[in-house]
Symmetry: C3
């Protein structure tokens, strides 16, 4: 195990005592930041985007997206990462300030040696700032992030949420990405100029294998949209006003009303929408070619909002008999206690060497 954090640990221990004494006097016990420790592996994993289109990924805990990490602002997060693949990896905690902990930023050749196959590395950092954050490998990002599924959500709940956040009744994680099928089963290669992106996904699934967003009138939904891939996406929500309230976890001083939200690679937008208009409504990428699977429409980045008031029994509705799989947007996991949440929805098949 290669780990350059021993000095850091010592330092943190002393700091903890100092802050701890201060906290005993000043802060009620319930608000005390907690230490949260998680174990995570990286595994060669086969996932299916849609139909027979499978992909060889390097998946955190064998799933794409990676497990939801849901913590409170100020929590001390510890993640023990074991690399069970045959290639080196790291984890970058995208958006975390890493104040005083730069060697936990997860960049090979800059903040650490990459984690070699078989090795474990421990990341330690404070969850700061709050908001819609994410984590991903930082080795050969052109391949590992673009099309080996090495990304997952890191949601840091704020100590002092905005009033509008408190109105939210349901929230959804939507990680957008792009795939080049030519490299599907050539791990260690791909993500290069000239590549033809031909699959587009929300949480690693293409329509019609995405899942609906189920609501009732009066709900207020929060879409946490991530540009997790290589392409720009333009998310259009039908029949409602999209309130763009946060960018990259930070509240916008002037929130923006829209029906279409442009998202670049690495960006996150939190969009809050009042569910005031019962019906069946599309949410999809308005980059038109991102609604194909290979060379066939309809596919790609597309789903629907389903209001319980109108039901599904409409002869024209493509998903009237669809098997509903909850937690596809981590909407159930987000209601659970803070911690790391694996989801069998995203679990792939282990690839044996």
């Amino acid at each position: 195990m290669r780990n350059s954090n021993s000095i850091f640990s010592h330092y943190r221990f002393i700091i903890s005592i100092v802050i701890g004494l201060y906290a005993l006097v000043m802060i009620p016990a319930t608000s005390w930041a907690e230490k949260r420790e998680f174990d995570m592996s990286i595994e060669d994993t086969r996932i299916v985007l849609v139909g027979k289109r499978d992909f060889h990924t390097f998946a955190f805990n064998g799933q794409v997206p990676a497990p939801l990490i849901h913590v409170k602002e100020g929590d001390d997060v510890v993640v023990n990462v074991t690399n069970m693949t045959t290639l080196p990896h790291t984890i970058h905690w995208h958006g975390m300030l890493q104040r005083g902990t730069w060697q936990n930023d997860g960049v090979p050749h800059a903040t650490q040696h990459a984690i070699e196959p078989g090795d474990t590395f421990t990341y330690k950092f404070k969850a700061e700032p709050s908001g819609t954050m994410w984590y991903h490998c930082h080795v050969n990002v052109n391949e590992h992030v673009t099309m080996r599924g090495m990304w997952g959500p890191l949601i840091v709940e704020p100590k002092n949420p905005l009033p509008i956040e408190k109105t939210v009744t349901k929230e959804y994680i939507m990680m957008l990405s792009d795939w080049v099928s030519a490299w599907a089963n050539k791990p260690g290669e791909g993500g290069i100029p000239g590549d033809v992106f031909d699959y587009y996904t929300i949480n690693a699934k293409s329509f019609p294998e995405t899942q609906p967003i189920r609501v009732k009138k009066g709900d207020v939904i929060r879409l946490r949209i991530f540009g997790a891939g290589d392409q720009v996406h333009s998310i259009h929500t039908h029949g409602h006003i999209s309130n763009i309230v946060f960018k990259d976890g930070f509240p916008l001083e002037s929130p923006i009303k829209a029906d279409t939200v442009l998202i670049g690679p690495g960006e996150r937008y939190d969009v809050i929408i009042n569910m005031d208009n019962p019906g069946l409504w599309m949410i999809h990428d308005h980059v038109d070619t991102h609604t194909t699977n290979g060379d066939k429409p309809d596919g790609g980045i597309m789903t629907t909002i389903e209001y319980e008031e109108v039901g599904l029994d409409h002869d024209f509705y493509v998903w009237k008999d669809k098997k509903f799989v909850p937690d596809f947007y981590y909407e159930e996991s987000l209601k659970k206690d803070f911690g790391m949440h694996n989801s069998k929805v995203f679990k792939g098949e282990l690839i044996e060497e």
Copy 2:
């Protein structure tokens, strides 16, 4: 004719009575929302982008862009659409909230069956919210929207315009799109990963077959810019300050000053510019490769602002002898009464079966 709106019609009738009674008491007659009914066809139509580069489109009323629909906020809009092509289509009214009228949202497999060849479908909805909206087919958008010309402007005038809107003296509709010439004459195919976009247009014409924007000092122009195609565009206006005032029809809480406006697919930006600097000035896409036609510069998304104060008689000016075609930006139609405005400027040639 397949139309699932009969229940809806009944419901609207009752609502109309209730609102009507209220309106008799509260609102002066002149502001009463009007019913506006239009007939529209979809026709196999050959258009010319530039030079000899023609394209087989499925054109609303045989023109690309489709007819201008110009109504007031709150108007009741009825559109009878007859499909005269050999493929199924719909119309999605992009930006319309469709409150209480979700089955008029125009999405096949979600809100209706697609309109089969020979069939007519009637869309009924309230014009809400106000702003720069548009309409387009929602069947196989990767082909039909991207490169079969199935899009047009829907301008909803606000009941209470912003002060800055009242300063505008001239307004212009600029719908940007992108074409793959490999599919020009293969209707029913195209818009797939790997496609090479090689023509770029404003209102379906490439430079030098676009038209100038003619102004005089003191004018205040409003450019209503639409991302109607598949690519991102970056519109640079020379010699003036671009005030970005609306996005997707909604006023920005904090308007943005710029010289270059990035526009993603599906987005609209309203840019208001004071004409305070006589000269001949370029407006063009700063995505440099979008200023070619096929493999030749200059072309694509490019035009000029011409001030009458400086005239055209400059030996270096490429358009000094150009035949001016008014209404290329619907600037004349926008001054007419509310309603649907066809334009012979955009009329293509009917393709007989």
Copy 3:
């Protein structure tokens, strides 16, 4: 020499007298706008992006980026441009309002005849408005701007800087662009649909031949980021909060906090960042495929922030023994007196005919 500015010169002379008399009474001598005159050539120049990847450019003063022009708001700028290449060119002063001087806007076929080989053209304009501006050729922009290196920074210091600007201790110019190696040594060709962009640069260098940003705790840095190429970029800065304060030189009414900044072609964003977190931190394009050189990672648009507090002596650090070349971001030139600053850092090799 072809120059249509003689009338203009006369007019400016009279205006100068009038303003001059006014200024004698009203304005202290030190704030008087100055006339700044520069000579600039355009030369066939070979530059190296990274490793052995050279490129035939048409370089202003034989360098890419072009010389830094650094003036004060209101200055009268005169630039005598001599074209020593075999193809026609112009200079467009992107962002300059050119009030009253439209024939100095540098657009062939619209504001002037292009400058033919061997000819000189004199541009005269007032530096207005202030901010992060740039200049580039406007002939065949799809080739000359996209991949012949014809662009440089024009920084106009404001008369009345914002309070936040006054906190800045160090500033950096980062011009992003994209290259198609297939055309590297075919001047007069390229920049057409179907091109495969395969090199990505900051100030015409790809990682690892970019340079670090060296700071100490307490510094406040200003990154002036330019979309100088053909592609969209998404700049992610690790470990810090990016304050987006200006777009295209104009202050944002509501500045935006972010960790990732999306930049379209032609746009500029000024990002101000407090250096409050010692470490080694990446700044890179989150368009993952933009971090390759040809078909190899790591490369492209990538650099690091190096705090002196942590030093470079870390065995994992790729740049621990790197030769530091100051002024790679014009950070030294920006501290000098106003004027035009050539930089030997960017100087290429003259290509003899």
